[in-house]
């Protein structure tokens, strides 16, 4: 018994240490941002700050003076909130309908939606771009999509596109399908309406899937980079934080400009970019893991 426990302790420690090594960039970013420039240049494995508190104030003050960063944070929060407000009800409602209701052509609708999940994402970047640029009646386009710039550089794109996520509908359907019908019947007898049944009785039962949707939306929005480059090429004011972090890091580390490069500030930016995803994950971790177990693992 004790041998087993010792073995477990050794294994646990080994995995924990290896896991911490995996988080090397997080520690590097933190320690780097607490260093002075000259301390940073002496770094071999990790930067060693001597006056961490003073540098903390100095470096992060410098970072948060960057207006593009603050603006990008605002845009990102808005995009995330809007994404959740739209996708969660749409997915829950459609998932419920496919799992619990009978209607004509159900199989056809489901197959049409699901088959689109097989369309490879990277192959669709170019045609999606063309479609957004040529979207009828948007951004000065005529009915046939010429004359203007469509959704490009247009924040209306955040608001009007991406409402229906097939993968999320699929997850909700799978989860609802495992639940019984009794609640539906009971709710009907009690006189609860359709929407009320879905959102107040059934939705709370699939919190693991909601956690998966939340984290996917959060991380997807926070980490987006290519999307900004493609759809907002001339509207940097609408870029989310992914691109803002990368660009500000480049500015701080630039050695060709008039000001000397400030690597500690650059890595402070990197550290800032890592904190919110970790915090968001830690908050929903338990439910998220359950969600993965329910088959969300393929995301």
């Amino acid at each position: 018994m004790t041998a087993g426990r010792t073995k477990n302790a050794i294994l646990y420690t080994a995995l924990a240490v290896a896991g911490l090594i995996l988080l090397y960039p997080v520690f590097f970013g933190l320690l780097g941002s607490l260093s002075t420039v000259s301390e940073f240049y002496k770094t071999i494995i990790l930067p060693i700050p001597h006056s961490p508190f003073r540098q903390f104030v100095a470096n992060y003050q410098l970072i948060f003076k960057e207006e593009t960063l603050l603006r990008a944070l605002g845009v990102t929060v808005f995009k995330m909130a809007w994404g959740l407000i739209i996708t969660v009800p749409v997915s829950v409602l459609n998932g419920f309908v496919f799992a619990k209701m009978r209607f004509p052509l159900k199989r056809t609708f489901f197959l049409v939606l699901m088959s689109s999940m097989m369309i490879p994402g990277p192959a669709m970047i170019i045609p999606n771009y063309i479609w957004m640029a040529r979207f009828p009646l948007m951004g000065g386009n005529d009915l046939f999509g010429s004359g203007g710039t469509g959704f490009l550089n247009n924040p209306l794109m955040f608001i009007l596109t991406g409402w229906v996520g097939v993968y999320n509908i699929f997850l909700c359907r799978q989860c609802f399908a495992t639940l019984g019908n009794e609640m539906n019947e009971a709710a009907k007898i009690d006189g609860a309406g359709f929407l009320r049944t879905v959102f107040t009785i059934y939705m709370p039962l699939i919190t693991p899937i909601l956690a998966v949707m939340f984290l996917n939306t959060f991380v997807g929005c926070w980490n987006d980079y290519l999307g900004n480059l493609i759809y907002m090429p001339d509207a940097r004011q609408w870029w989310t934080v992914g691109n803002a972090f990368v660009n500000i890091m480049a500015i701080f580390a630039d050695s060709s400009g008039l000001t000397a490069p400030n690597h500690p500030a650059a890595f402070g930016v990197a550290f800032i970019s890592m904190v919110p995803p970790i915090v968001a994950y830690a908050c929903v971790q338990e439910q998220f893991t359950k969600g993965l177990a329910m088959g969300a693992v393929k995301g």
Binding site: N8, L15, F98, I126, W163
Partner: protein
Amino acid sequence: MKLQKKDSIKALSCVIPSTVYYLLFTLVPLVMLFWYSVTNYNVLEQTNAFVGFQNYVKIFTQQQYYSSLLTTLIIAVLIMAFGMILGFFLALGLNKVLRGKSFLRVLWYIPALLPMAVMSQFISILLQPLGIANNIVRALGGDAVSWYDSVFWMYFFIVLLITWKGLGSTAVLFMAGLAGVSPEIYEAASIDGATGWRRMVYITLPLMRPMIGFILIMGFIGAFNIFEPVQLISRGAPRGQTEVILYKIYTQGFDNFKLGFASAISVVVFVIVLLLTLLNMLVTDSNILKAEVAGQ
């Protein structure tokens, strides 16, 4: 009966709008993809004429284009080799831990959530002349390396970054696979005297074969999504030898404005990834689904 009809109306009023909306943003670009791949659509030169299969001929006859497919393949093989071996042992280890599993799992999954673009820029800054990557080389007694001139180092950092990011998810999948191997089989095996290494080779690995196939194919599909590390670390250096296919699509389409030609490359990617997806559906039999459900 009347109730049934009312239900149908409610259901259809949910499903029809979402299906129409979704198809609007899926079907139209899908048609555009194939149409523009046989044109010379170029926003800058304002050309948009039918050119037949000229774009495809170019992709498969000019070395700079088909080699980017090859680069993607090489990177995929490297990532899979490292990722699967490490992920498998990690899953074995995590499976054996009795208490505090969830903390370890959180720890190991974190890289999957961090922004790829920032991490790429992170490495890129360390490799700059003023960056400190060369400090380690000097501390070990070597001469400063010019990272961007070395195919090895460019591949090294790209593969390192992607493997690091994917490790957690690979381990989660392997753990689901391991959980799918029923304890009775192990008991039977131990009665027959199979332990340790033999048990691994003759029982665990064969039973995990569908899951291994699944992870392998997902890894190859993932390689077609690689963009940020190439865009921000190597920019294809040295001499275009690290240009992966998505980077090629991006540079052709958005730097050179050749949207028609970029569509043709996209169609090639479309076909390859679709074939891989279909293959995946073949190898993913019900065993995996069962394993996933039993995973926790």
